[in-house]
Symmetry: C2
Subunit: 354 residues, 2 copies
Amino acid sequence: MTDRIEKIPQELNLQGLDALLISSLPNIRYLTCYEARDAYLLVSAKKNVFITDFRYLYEARKNLKGIQVQLINGSLFKTIARTAKELKIKRLGFESKNLVYAEQQKIREELDEKIGFLPTFDLIEGLRKIKSPQELKKIKTATRIATSAMQFAKRLLKPGLSEIDVVFEIERFIRLEHGCKPSFDIIVASGPNSSFPHHISSERKLLKNEPVLIDLGVDFQGYKSDLTRVFFLGKIPAYAREIYEIVLAAQKSAISEIQAGNPIGSIDNKARQIIAQKGYAKNFGHALGHGIGLEVHEEPHIYGKSSEELTENMVFTIEPAIYLPGKFGIRIEDMVWVKQKGSEVLSGNLDKRI
Amino acid sequence: MTDRIEKIPQELNLQGLDALLISSLPNIRYLTCYEARDAYLLVSAKKNVFITDFRYLYEARKNLKGIQVQLINGSLFKTIARTAKELKIKRLGFESKNLVYAEQQKIREELDEKIGFLPTFDLIEGLRKIKSPQELKKIKTATRIATSAMQFAKRLLKPGLSEIDVVFEIERFIRLEHGCKPSFDIIVASGPNSSFPHHISSERKLLKNEPVLIDLGVDFQGYKSDLTRVFFLGKIPAYAREIYEIVLAAQKSAISEIQAGNPIGSIDNKARQIIAQKGYAKNFGHALGHGIGLEVHEEPHIYGKSSEELTENMVFTIEPAIYLPGKFGIRIEDMVWVKQKGSEVLSGNLDKRI
């Protein structure tokens, strides 16, 4: 059992709950350090129960210490209801963002009428925002490998290769040289394809004097990284260089504002202002960044309307961009660790000069 | 626009609905043939609206013909509500298994009070159960590549390699030689690890005279395959051979029962009976198989309590197994296509002799 799970009942108590049904697999992994699949975790002051099916029973029992592993009996919904009854739970919370409507409905139907089944919001996600030293260590390793992969990709690029060729080579590098895996489908977007923020890598062949946008990340022991760079094959057109410099300035300016206590909204606004001043407000239509850890996208989201403040040991991406539909796009993405004073760019040694 | 989407309003009409909000990405892909990410599709007799954010806007407009692409404005929930109002929808269905509780709640709050927001069950999934000739062609290709990958893996195996080494080599084979990707994390489970039905491939090194269970699949243009074989490195212990023969007999018997019109439950029972007769009922704790197509696990599920009948052009796996915890496990998995008379094992040319 981990320290993390032991702290949950106190959190629940503050919300007037005596148990929580956790249906998010990353949340279960966070609390148990076990990579669960097809499982539910019921956390309460009395007992923690991990509910799974035959396929994972023995593996779960082998890996989970201090947590009861309960085989699904009859149906998942009946098993959850039976467990709640046995533990004399009166107010059971569920993760409203991580439970589909139909399952919520079926569990509700199976539960004793006297048991309240109540939506909660970002309870575990809120804890996951602040990284522990062990988590930071894994994120740093994931970032270091992604940085190497990006340097490898840069050396590899040449006219005539297809986007998908480059994807395969990067994957192979991550898997065979580093023994881990990509944290999402690697994006290689060449020429006009780079103007689609989340392009699906295609058979298109790289051409001379074109930008190639590469967005890649690595999963190291469950912890993710996420980096983007744009490279040019040959001559950099003056207009592209101009756009690149605007995006770089926006990123630099946003990063300079990062420090515990500063409002998240102002970080996004800072970058957006620089892009808007040059007339490209409409060409930067997504948020500035996202938290990263056990999931590639997690809390905190870095966007202008956020009312949250930065806290020490948050880790997130900063990825301003300008997309010129049908022409090209520039995005520069790094991972930043918030400190008491200032911040550290975890991918800081990855060159941004073009 | 595809024929598939044109048929939906009629289906909705039968259920007393005038529109459906589709939140499952495979369902959206099925209806539009476009690999959407972070999107919602509102289908109605008047108009079909694809709702997405800035990142996918231009790509979606380029790929979707005859479907209005709507940028999220304000919030996703407000945009859905505004669209429903504009189309004068009175009864809007949602996919109860594919929409999380919190989103369902927020959409409900934004919708006009006069609009009913009603749960539906497996509406598109029901259509996806029956494969078209074009879908079958893609599934066959995905199966053919998986078959080659399994044959490649068999030649590769030798004592001293780690499970994860084998995984990487199989992945490379699928990606570089065939230009597609695995449909799930490949399982290589050696010795006692094979007794965990969904083992996570590890650093464990293969030993002589041990079984190695390999479960792999391929994604070809969105369509998946899924196959399992067990190989032995060296001598096959007599006890393992005995277990292997039972599992093989169970599979053979189940497959012989497959034909349009037969009840699904009886297929599962047939295999389970053979395993139970030999005293291993408790060692086969999962369902016999699952439908496969745009998702690795989809309808129809092949289990004993199913009240459904087989229909022509269903495609699913048949994967009986015996797991002896801490010792070893045997699973044999093939993909079967239901025909008017009998069936065709799509992975039929993949050897099962040990």
